[in-house]
């Protein structure tokens, strides 16, 4: 959980990362530093600001979601972590190593061993079978055929594609293809997984299923996952922490509840208005803390408001228990309703 990781080691640290697209980025950078906005820089120099002074701390073992609309720079941001895009200014540290100072060879071996990536458009090799696609990362790394096929077979099974090993990617549905993409990234056994709108191209039901699976997988894998999405619901569902990006700049960064309960500005408020708050708000953040008499019905501390709502039909109080089953607090229907209503503009 997020709070457990706050003191944990930093996996990725971005410091003042700025990216400007165009023939003379330094000139545009000077304007940007002088306080001009993205639109002004674009009007004056015809340079596009992709990222504007982005600083993020991503702790190891958490799912960190970067949320933004199209054009907000989120896909640019994720490509800086494995340096598919070179920043104009700034510093990117991964487990303390400066990614930007790496030589070509060092960068290649970093990409082969430390970061794996899942793509919105899957990026599968159409001329290879599923198992050869999954084994691709290991093949590039130079792992022997037998070992890499065994590893690939294991991950194909984990993502639920057993039996499709020798199919061609084009014979699979979109959801299945993205499972292949996920298995390919997981088979690298890298500490960091970059997911660039990995589920955005999928149908809503399939997407929701994939989100659940990712959460389940993460419980046993404890990878550092940087997840990009334009879907606020998705961000709230899977994110341990969320950063909201607009015009290449970070608007707010925090736990999902922080963003839902205390949106930093109008732009984020707009997202929050549309969102299913019952799903976004954890029960533990609104419960009455402390030792109380045990309740007949209890939910885990990971539960969200939507999980407890049906229970109020039968019970007045619902307990909240931690991992060991000890009750750490309780909630009433009133508290839940208050939490949901408070954040609806015009009501609270």
């Amino acid at each position: 959980m997020a709070e457990l990781n706050e003191n944990a080691e930093l996996a990725i640290a971005m410091r003042g990362v700025t990216k400007i697209f165009g023939p003379d980025p330094q000139a545009a950078l000077a304007l940007l530093k002088a306080g001009k906005s993205k639109a002004e820089v674009q009007a004056e120099t015809n340079h596009v600001v992709g990222l504007d002074n982005v600083s993020l701390d991503i702790a190891a073992g958490q799912i960190f979601v970067v949320m933004g609309l199209s054009g907000s720079g989120k896909s640019t941001l994720i490509r800086h972590v494995n340096r598919l895009i070179e920043p104009t200014a700034g510093e990117i540290l991964v487990h303390g190593d400066d990614v930007l100072k790496m030589s070509r060879d060092a960068l290649r071996s970093y990409r082969r061993t430390k970061v794996a990536m899942v793509f919105q458009k899957f990026g599968l090799l159409p001329h290879r079978s599923v198992i050869d696609n999954v084994a691709y990362g290991l093949e590039v790394r130079g792992v022997g055929r037998k070992v890499r096929l065994e590893t690939a077979a294991k991950w194909i099974e984990t993502v639920g594609l057993a039996g499709y090993e020798n199919s061609q990617p084009r014979q699979l549905s979109g959801g299945q293809q993205q499972r292949v993409g996920l298995a390919r990234a997981l088979s690298m056994d890298a500490d960091i997984i970059l997911m660039d709108e990995a589920f955005s191209a999928l149908d809503p039901l399939i997407r929701s299923g994939m989100q659940d699976e990712l959460i389940t997988l993460q419980k046993s894998l404890h990878k550092t996952i940087l997840f990009i999405t334009h879907d606020f619901d998705e961000a709230l569902k899977i994110g341990d922490r969320i950063a909201v990006l607009k015009d290449g700049a970070v608007q707010q960064e925090g736990k999902p509840e922080d963003i839902v309960l205390r949106p930093a500005n109008e732009h984020i408020e707009e997202f929050v208005r549309e969102v299913n708050k019952a799903r976004a708000i954890h029960v533990r953040s609104i419960m009455e803390r402390g030792v109380t008499e045990p309740c007949e019905q209890a939910v885990s501390m990971d539960a969200r408001c939507e999980d407890v709502l049906p229970l109020f039909a039968e019970h007045q109080w619902v307990g909240v228990v931690d991992g060991e089953g000890n009750q750490i607090g309780r909630v009433t229907a009133k508290q839940v309703i208050k939490a949901l209503a408070r954040h609806t503009p015009g009501v609270g």
């Binding site: 794996a116 090799l125 001329h127 990617p169």
Partner: protein, 289 residues
Amino acid sequence: MFPQLIDTRPWRRAVDDGLNWVVRNWGGTFEAAAYPLLMLLKAIEDLLVATPWWLIIALLTGIAWLATRRWQLPAVVFAALMFLGIMDLWKDAMTTMALMIAATLTAILISIPVGVWMSRSINLRQVITPILDLMQTLPSFVYLIPTVMIFGPGKIPALIATIVYAAPPLVRLTDLGLRSVDPAVMEASRAFGTNPRQRLFGVQIPLALPTILAGVNQTTMMALSMVVIASMIGAGGLGYQVLQGIGRLEVSRGLFAGLGIVALAIVFDRITQAFGRQLQARIGLQEAR
């Protein structure tokens, strides 16, 4: 009349003298350099002539079946080859086929690396594209005559002229094929830490192969279309029959030899196209049916 601004006669004389100088001083060297080409051509021709006719028919019909797994194309190939045999054109057809195969092989050897190189550098593309345009549009006699002067009449200038004419489409299509590989796939490959060689051989070339094969198809067709001109400088084969037919006003000889060239063209065109389609289907580019 356009006024004479400069006297161009010295230029012409310089070009002519220059060529003569090259022929006198370097003729032997050039001939020696082209010797491997001649050997290749001779080896292919000897092999084709020495192979019994029924074996060649069986082989090509078999290849046609492998390329399509249906009976139609093998039947067409069989009929076209039988036509060549029945019309007493077999030996000439083998000579022409040898020239075409030698030219195509050499063109593949040269064009694919050039195409690969071109796909990686915009500057190089800007230099090579006009050269390719020149190779395709310059009337072949213009470079045929200097090559004949350097190498003497025979198979080498015929082969070189055929290569010059037939290589450009393969260069262009190799370049195009490599550049039009899905950028999402290329990026994924890069993200996994591939080096340029791994990307070229593991991703780009396999995915561009259908396009490259279309280039090979174009090259074979253009090589065949050069046979009549090539026969003027001693390549022999079906083209020579056409020439004789024209010279002696024997319409039938020219017609049948001409149809023989068409028959060869059909055989090689259909077989290479069928392989291209098969490859495309395997890669899954022909998804929508």
